[in-house]
Amino acid sequence: MSNETYKNTALIQASLKKRYAREKRFQWMGRFAVFLGFLFLFILLFDIVGKGLPAFTQQYLLIDLDLSADALDVAPDADAEALSRANYAGVIKSSLRDMFPEVKSRSDKRMLYRLVSVGAEYELRDRVMADPALVGTRQSLWLLAHSEAASYLKGQVDPNSPEAERRVKDAQITWLDQLHADERTKSGFNTQFFTAGDSREPELAGIRVALYGSFLTLAVTFLLAFPIGVCAAVYLEEFAPTNRLTDLIEININNLAAVPSIVFGLLGLAVFINFFEFPRSAPLVGGIVLALMTLPTIIITSRAAIQSVSPSIREAALGVGASKLQAVFHHVLPVAMPGILTGSIIGMAQALGETAPLLMIGMVAFIMDAPAGVTDPATVLPVQVFLWADSPERGFTEKTSAAIMVLMGFLIMMNALAIYLRKRFELK
């Protein structure tokens, strides 16, 4: 007996090394996998943030402007009506010509004018209209730079590369360098990015419409999907009899979760827009479509959460004479709530990032004004990203990344909310 015991000890000891080595190997593989995951995430974030950060600054040029009534092409005592139609573009152009008198040729002049943003004239108009006393004076004002000039000022253009390969030409670089040397350039925080709608000009484009649109769409989605989803889950889990029909429903809900989102878009187009004649491009339709898409997720996760509630709680409630409804709403749902909320917020996050179905219902339109209600046309963040990523102008590249950053910020906030709600409910 004792001999055998010793023999076993020796055998076990011999096998120990191998076992520990295997364990070590597995641990290292796991660490490597985690490391790899983090590496890719880091590269992605680095790339996006690197590209997107410059979008949060804007470049301005200090231009000496002759705001005489002559130059503005208005009467000296012009009223607001006339002022709004004054020739601000001409003022800016002549001022630029005055600052660089050596520019003579037509094509050079056109390049010179391209230093300043198209939006500068509207900015100037707004300022003059706000303060008519400016008429007749000479002012040095900071005007928004054109996105190409701005990209050079931000150091994104290599002046030594062949001229044909870049959009900022040698002449423009010379002028910008001169302006820079005269301390006539500055950069500032890009508030316009958050306050403006979409624009053809990268330096004027903002995500306000998309932000509003995303918020409204998600609100509609949540208000529809959460109550319907939770109620469906409660019914299926607690009240529905188990038979063929409920089995069929369960299978179909599971299948529905796997249906490509674009199909929901087609459904939205066919049913809500063509049949019910809801307005196109509206957050209402987008929200409904996304709600349909999110419902299966919410139902499935809610059912799982309800299922995981210990049956002893139900029994306890029934045991003191609670009705089934009371048992479910007083005891089962509060316990299942963290799980339900987590599932719902994951579903909402999915909806937030969804593009394809919204393309189908026309939320891809070019919209400059923020929507005031759920029936006004709007777009959403991922669609905005999609649109900008598609634009040829260099300035939109950084806008794309910046919009992605905002979208991710949104997602992080939603996840944080999920965690907070979870903790809050679990404490009780």
Partner: protein, 295 residues
């Protein structure tokens, strides 16, 4: 008399299904007819009475022709090996089996002479009159106060906060838990020790002033000291309530009950005064079970 097929059935997870409903079909070979319960299952003036109760889980015949009376203010213990039907029978007494979709109950069960399986019998009212304490302490994940106040609240037994406070205090006192928790009434009930949780569950059950309390292995998850406290409590409670207790511990049955019923493979084999069952059982199966012999 009808089963519960027409009830809204509520799905419950497997854990709620008594052991009889799961596992092997141990009843396939059992002879349903021709057996008679040894001893005296019937009483003169019973609080609850069951006559020829049969319970089926789908095809399985879990309880066979059981007739048993439960007298007022007595503690009756139901013992027997696993899968013998004792828990199932207990759950028939407040229609807790209704929650199991595949379960059918046949026979006649009366509370104070009223048929509890009658179609007009309301299960909510029934369960307010026949309370239940479960195997695992299962306080609601709410405060101690809320745990006790829940039953009276949903039944509208208290008209204001003062009355409710009174009910809660009395219930906790009767469950001999008041002294331990009176300063922490707003703390979650799940934070108490196992034994305290079970006493909280008893307080919760008696808060609605039931006439009968069913206990399904109430001490199986508790240590001997906590068990002793619950047993002491049962002894005190029998002054006011009728108690039916299912237990795996024969010693516990011997300690707390006045009558003992022995179940075996779905049949009620023997019923008698606890003293007699434990010193001189009449049926061989009872004897074998009580003395720990091979079946």
């Amino acid at each position: 008399m009808q089963g519960n097929d027409d009830m809204n059935q509520m799905k419950t997870a497997d854990a709620a299904v008594p052991e009889e409903a799961r596992g092997l079909d141990i009843h396939a070979h059992a002879d349903v007819s021709n057996y008679e319960t040894t001893g005296d299952p019937l009483l003169d003036n019973p609080k609850m009475s069951a006559r020829n109760v049969n319970v089926y889980y789908g095809e399985k015949h879990a309880i066979m022709d059981v007739s048993l009376d439960i007298g007022g203010n007595e503690v009756i213990a139901m013992i027997g090996p696993s899968g013998c039907g004792k828990s199932t029978f207990l759950r028939c007494l407040n229609r807790m089996n209704d929650t199991i979709p595949i379960c059918r109950v046949k026979g006649d069960i009366q509370l104070d002479g009223e048929d509890i399986y009658h179609s007009r019998q309301d299960t909510v009212l029934l369960r307010a009159r026949v309370g239940m304490v479960f195997q695992k302490p299962n306080p609601f994940p709410k405060s101690i106060y809320e745990n006790v106040a829940y039953g009276p609240r949903i039944h509208g037994l208290a008209h204001n906060k003062i009355e409710m406070d009174e009910i809660v205090e009395n219930s906790l006192r009767r469950a001999s838990l008041w002294e331990e928790v009176k300063d922490v009434l707003d703390k979650p009930g799940t934070g108490l020790s196992g034994g305290q949780q079970q006493r909280l569950c008893i307080a919760r059950a008696i808060a609605v002033s039931p006439e009968v309390i069913l206990m399904d292995e109430p001490c199986s998850a508790l240590d001997p000291i906590a068990t002793a406290r619950i047993e002491e409590l049962i002894d005190e409670l029998k002054e006011r309530f009728t108690i039916a207790i299912v237990t795996h511990s024969m010693q516990q049955a011997a300690r707390v009950s006045q009558r003992t019923a022995y179940f075996h493979l779905g049949k009620l084999i023997e019923v008698g005064q606890t003293k007699q069952i434990f010193t001189n059982p009449q049926h061989e199966l009872t004897e074998n079970y009580i003395t720990g012999r091979f079946g």
